[in-house]
Point group: C2
Amino acid sequence: MYQCCHSKEYEKTVNSKYLHPVNETLSCLFCTTLSLPALPAYHFRFPREQQTLPNHFYFTDYERHNAEIAAFHLDKILGFRRAMPVTGRVLHLTKELYDIAEPELLKTFFISPAENYCFHGHCSYYCDTSHAVCGNPDKLEGSFAAFLPEKEVVGRTLRKHPWRRSYHKRRKALWETDPNYCDAVKISPPYNEGIILLDLIDTSIFDFISGNMDRHHFETYSIFNNDSFPIHLDHGRAFGKPFHDELSILAPLTQCCLIKQSTLLTLLSLHNGAKKLSDLMRESMADDPIMPILWEPYYPAMDRRVKIILEAVRGCILKSASESDAQSAPPTTGQGSKKPNSA
Amino acid sequence: MYQCCHSKEYEKTVNSKYLHPVNETLSCLFCTTLSLPALPAYHFRFPREQQTLPNHFYFTDYERHNAEIAAFHLDKILGFRRAMPVTGRVLHLTKELYDIAEPELLKTFFISPAENYCFHGHCSYYCDTSHAVCGNPDKLEGSFAAFLPEKEVVGRTLRKHPWRRSYHKRRKALWETDPNYCDAVKISPPYNEGIILLDLIDTSIFDFISGNMDRHHFETYSIFNNDSFPIHLDHGRAFGKPFHDELSILAPLTQCCLIKQSTLLTLLSLHNGAKKLSDLMRESMADDPIMPILWEPYYPAMDRRVKIILEAVRGCILKSASESDAQSAPPTTGQGSKKPNSA
């Protein structure tokens, strides 16, 4: 038995999972009522070419179900294997939701003026008729992720990301104004030993390529203490700006000037190899039931961002020519050590 | 001294008017802080071709500042003269709002990721960063309405519209299911005497042509008791569906089978005359500072709807050939008696 994501809400009864808040727990929408090993994520559905609205911040950006799918494939190709498998699927709102909904959820269903089936669930904000999920007329694309083991079975530790953003429209986080921020992180537990800092730099590379600015927390499996990896969860706000490369996402890399050797080799292979990252992403996502997953401009964007990361690494090398060019991490089993083509 | 609209919020202090709820009182946004005899209405700005979202109800539709402008011109051309003059204008968020804002309002201002000036005010729902008003970078189109006399000077009576909708995603109003609904209205005060019922039928004609389903209340000047007209206020949800004629808006006409002679003559003139309604609307709005005000498909829609109204009148005549074809109202001074070309 698995659970779908990392929210407390998700541990409530089956139907209560539909009564969702529209935040990071939203990816729990639908889940186990369907007795599926997977879940569709987010309300609203946008066409693939819908970009983040220019006046929206990372924390007011809409969630994109296709971004969850693409992020899983990207994580796999980068060799991290820290994201749960996600697939697209067309859901039938009537037989897969309406027919089994309990009264509390049922009363949020309605037929829209365009005669589509819609529902909105319950939550503290944005769960209302104007922010509903609507089918066409009852068919709805979703992204479905494999469930993580239940927290009662395999506990997880939740930590604030040291490079988290302010989540405020005017305030900046400390790391955005302090160029020496990494020095403080490096000497603070748990980042002062093991590979967790290098893992977070991997995550920043993953997030930079996907354009995800919404990495506020991270979770690890508690039983491994600090000898574990950050699970890559919640990527609905990735893949929103194909024409803008958000360099601040790379701050863990550029401020610490650290990168795993295995990750660097992977990036070099994706840049110089026979197949670029965009080629591998196309191949990997080709069989998804709701392909195409990404709008075309994201493919050159991913290749361009690989190059930007390598340039950032080169900048670190130039800045500190006397230090080793790239700090090797101790070899790990399965984490971050795979070549792209072995994914 | 005038006030801008009909909400209690509006009678608060100048800056508090910016701390607005997103409902019918929203048209008070901006107002007297600018010491202008006019106000821009609504947050968000949409391109002219933005239609009501197909899954949105009349009560979840966005508000359109250009609809307020077009509605004023339509009301004038129809000869009703019950809407306050509204004009478009480009507002400078910095010098006209930011520079004079008080601290409570000021803290809702921010610079968006696209480097535009934005603010959202305070209210119970939807006044947040993701529903902000944003300039480009500080210029913002607005609709500005002349103020009505302050309520303390000229009091107004607020009444529920007898053909108001349910404002619920599943429930219907009584008039939607009872074909004899008008019989009950006709014998109920204040509709059982005077011209107020005929005035509301005028309003339904005005709303049908503009596609406004949001006529939940109406106000009259109290000093005139029932010998006054419903003021045409709040048209931000008109002009949202150019390709759909919402016949239910005409229910007061089709259920009562009553129409003022003057209104019928105006409609006949708009249908058969040298200039159609669309021609007169184009001429009337040509000088607005933010023209063009309406997307092209609304012009044929207005002419088509005039024809539909006349067909509805013909239907009434056929249905009750023994009754007078159209009930004449006692001549009124200035209200509903103007010819289109005299507007």
